[in-house]
Symmetry: C2
Subunit: 89 residues, 2 copies
């Protein structure tokens, strides 16, 4: 099994299958229990802004999950992109 | 097996284990063979800039791979972060 099989896990209904999808995973592995600033939540906000420069993104088409396991934190952002012709010029 | 087990696949030598690590995966699933602009390379450059606001990132500590399989494109960015005390103020 490869990483690719874990991306876009939810098999889309045919209508969504016609849409482009973007998934961004940010994983942070802290070392030796050191805390340091928790920047993933703020980072994801800026991520959406960066993506919006390249393609039109509707806020309600974005699903976000933040998962923590031991010293690993994973931010998972799933975006269904509108049709290409509505992309920014 | 969960997505988490695929993150940070290369088990670090002890020295690197003491460092914080960040992994960013950007996956884009194109629909029905439509091309549309290829924005992953530019997107990844901006992501590094965004992350550098939150934590110090040395260019030579960044490993990038771009993988294409069918209509799926995956950009995988691995960053070894310097020690927390050298983080930006």
């Amino acid at each position: 099994m490869s990483l690719l099989s874990f991306l876009f896990p939810t098999k889309p209904k045919s209508a969504v299958a016609a849409k482009e999808r973007l998934q961004i995973i940010i994983a942070r592995e802290r070392s030796n229990g050191r805390q340091g600033p928790d920047f993933l939540p703020a980072l994801h906000k800026e991520l959406i802004e960066v993506i919006s420069k390249y393609t039109k993104v509707n806020a309600d088409d974005i699903k976000i999950s933040l998962d923590r396991q031991g010293n690993l934190e994973v931010l998972d952002v799933n975006v269904v992109l509108p049709d290409a012709d509505s992309a920014p010029v």
